[in-house]
């Protein structure tokens, strides 16, 4: 087996194991399933391009999570361009218009989550949806562990205020 084939196998294995989880993470950040799937594909393509420097599977997963967040940020930014350029996208799965009915209470949480600053939102999702440790979250976000701790704390306060306001 050549190095390249080994890389393909490893990546295929990572995809089988983690693509669904990563797509869910992207969906929570974007609200749009199609965009979430694209973001995950893009992350795996990125991994493929730079696999030479990333042989450790645990690091590969950190890279993938990080890439998903980065790519999701790009998608969110692009949605601010005129729609004829950015393309159209479905309303978030948690919105009232969406077919995926989640209920008013969950919708309220998701809407509040998306009103938080980007970094706070990412920290909360990685910590409490992804169940990552502070250290893992720090690696994925490329920030220090202390910053994760303070950001998460501020984010919870802010989320609490937003949900309190909404009541």
């Amino acid at each position: 087996m050549t190095t390249s084939e080994a890389a393909d196998d490893t990546i295929a294995g990572l995809y089988a194991e983690h693509a669904l989880g990563l797509a869910r993470l992207a969906l929570i950040m974007l609200g749009d399933r199609e965009a979430a799937e694209d973001v995950v594909q893009e992350a795996f393509l990125g991994l493929h391009r730079r696999f030479g420097g990333l042989r450790d599977r645990s690091k590969a997963l950190t890279y993938l999570r990080s890439a998903v967040l980065n790519n999701a940020r790009s998608v969110l930014r692009r949605r601010r361009l005129p729609s004829w350029f950015a393309g159209t996208y479905e309303p978030p799965v948690w919105s009232a218009e969406s077919a995926a009915l989640l209920g008013a209470e969950r919708r309220e949480v998701m809407e509040a989550l998306h009103r938080l600053p980007r970094r706070q939102r990412e920290a909360l999702v990685l910590r409490y949806y992804g169940d990552l440790s502070e250290e893992e979250t720090a690696q994925v976000m490329g920030i220090s562990r202390g910053t994760v701790k303070s950001t998460t704390s501020r984010a919870l306060d802010a989320l609490g205020r937003l949900l309190g306001d909404a009541r």
Partner: protein, 537 residues
């Protein structure tokens, strides 16, 4: 706190579980994230080149001219019924500009004039115009010689006819001169910048007024600089503006004389009037040649282009500010930085902020051999053809974003962004910046504009230009969504109520940019026309 965490976990997991499988890995997936390009193939347009012959011993008058040249007249319908409700945001079917002949409304299909309102009087002129989101309700603001500006409102019917045209019962403060106007989506709020009127010292300010009650709120800057190039979000909460920093705009008045084989120095009076009514703090020049071939004959080949033999050098030095009310002097073109190899004349600005603006004039003797054109044979004594290159100064990249819902009355509280003059390959300076109706982005044209007044011996426009979006959160570039290569740069004039259609000017044309690219709306025939904020849709 645990309750919040539990609710967060529950909601995110429920969202995540709406996906239960993913498609297989597709290695060939083209990057769906990469910003694509829209625009036109390079070189699809040829640069307009003008021949500007000059008669014997003629002086070249550098004056300011512009606006869409139209005859006065029309169906103003002053004093008719007031405006009523404003419809939802609509794709524009009309655009209106305020020029020397009042307000002209045109159809976006073919650019045909549909209606006209003359200027209120010969002492009062419209300085800015804006449309509400429905493209039917318009507002205009005027400046007058007696420093008593007024606000006007008019409504278009489905045929583009002005159904009612009224002065509002309230007006900007006396002693001010409005610089630029912006309107909220439903037309209930207006924002305008003001500058001191006349020679009196004063401060510039930004005013937001309720069109129903006339109640207003004013923001002033500590250093007295005002705001120009205003735009407003649909909800009327955010106002984007350019700081009116350099309160100088040099306009070469009929004093710049170019004679063959002569070196001279001309004074360029600074025309205060133009300093803020143009959208840019830059030097403003339009070249009109008299006597000689009129501008409407500029496409006539006339005497042939003569080889470039620089025989005249002109240095124009801005002098003390001179206030002039010459109504024919409007529409400045701004001038700018980039080396012009053939420059035999240059405008030397008095202000440091203008040091990057350039204006080049070259006067060349016309010889009979070089002028074979029938009926227009140049006599040996007939001196020169003027070659001039004017480059349009970019706006200041510094834009202010004012949250009108926040307390305070200081314009300094506005968030300031310095827009990168390079984004995603497009570069050259900011040529108009406007906020999108939803307030999420700032759209700016990036590029350079240069205009050849002679035979087009110009360095080609450098690099691609286009329309870029910037975040209103932090001014960060979001990408270039419209690109052009091989054309003169665009200037962004206005964004419609839907946020999807951009009114621009390029190469003397007024055009539109939307999802299908650029299209011409009307050719003004004047590559130097600068509408500032006197055009809207």
């Amino acid at each position: 706190m645990n309750d919040i965490i539990n609710r967060l976990r529950d909601a995110t997991q429920a969202v995540g579980e709406t996906i239960d499988h993913v498609p297989g890995l597709t290695p060939g997936l083209a990057s769906g994230l990469a910003l694509g390009e829209s625009g036109e193939p390079g070189g699809s347009r040829t640069r307009r080149s003008w021949l500007v012959p000059v008669a014997a011993a003629a002086s070249v008058t550098v004056a300011v001219a512009g606006g869409v040249a139209v005859a006065r007249g029309g169906d103003g319908g002053l004093g008719q019924a007031a405006a009523t409700g404003v419809g939802p945001a609509a794709v524009p079917t009309f655009f209106a500009d305020a020029g020397e002949d009042g307000i002209t409304v045109r159809s976006v299909n073919g650019g045909a004039e549909t209606s006209r309102v003359p200027e209120p009087s010969d002492k009062e002129r419209f300085v800015s115009i804006q449309a509400a989101q429905d493209n039917r309700l318009f507002y205009a603001v005027s400046a007058s010689d007696d420093c008593r500006p007024r606000l006007y409102r008019f409504v278009l019917d489905e045929a583009g006819k002005i159904g009612s045209f009224d002065a509002l019962p309230f007006a900007p403060p006396e002693g001010t001169r409005p610089t630029s106007l912006a309107v909220s989506g439903d037309g209930s709020k207006l924002a305008y910048g003001t500058a001191p009127c006349g020679r009196e010292p004063g401060t510039g300010s930004l005013v937001v007024a309720d069109t129903t009650t006339g109640d207003s709120r004013t923001w002033t800057a500590k250093d007295g600089t005002g705001a120009t190039n205003l735009s407003m979000t649909a909800d009327g909460r955010l106002v984007l503006f350019t700081r009116d920093v350099a309160s100088v705009a040099a306009v070469a008045e009929p004093a710049l004389v170019v004679e063959p084989s002569a070196t001279l120095t001309a004074e360029v009076p600074v025309k205060e009037e133009e300093a803020t009514s143009s959208s840019s703090p830059a030097v403003s020049i339009t070249v009109t040649v008299t006597p000689g071939i009129r501008s409407d004959e500029k496409d006539d080949p006339g005497p042939a282009v003569v080889n470039a033999v620089p025989t005249a050098a002109v240095t124009a030095i801005p002098a003390e500010p001179v206030v002039t009310s010459d109504p024919t002097a409007t529409a400045p073109a701004t001038i700018l930085p980039s080396p012009i190899p053939t420059a035999a004349a240059s405008l030397v600005p008095a202000e440091e902020s203008l040091s990057w603006c350039r204006f080049a004039v070259e006067s060349v003797p016309a010889t009979p051999a070089d002028a074979p054109s029938a009926g227009k044979t140049a006599e040996p004594s007939e001196p020169a053809e003027l070659k001039a290159t004017v480059q349009v100064c970019p706006d200041s990249p510094e834009v202010g974003l004012l949250d009108t819902g926040a307390p305070g009355d200081s314009l300094d509280k506005a968030t300031t962004f310095s827009l990168l003059n390079e984004s995603d390959g497009a570069s050259g300076g900011v040529l108009g910046a406007k906020i999108s109706p939803d307030g999420t982005r700032i759209v700016a044209a990036l590029g350079g504009v240069d205009v050849a007044l002679a035979d087009g011996k110009l360095p080609p426009s450098s690099g691609p230009t286009g329309l870029a979006a910037f975040s209103t959160d932090d001014g960060r570039p979001l990408g270039v969504f419209h690109r052009q290569v091989g054309t003169s740069g665009l200037r962004l004039l206005d964004i419609d109520g839907t946020g999807e259609n951009m009114l621009v000017t390029r190469d003397g044309e007024i055009g539109a940019v939307d999802g299908s690219g650029y299209r011409t709306l009307v050719d003004t025939g004047d590559a130097l026309v600068n509408f500032g904020s006197r055009i809207a849709w």
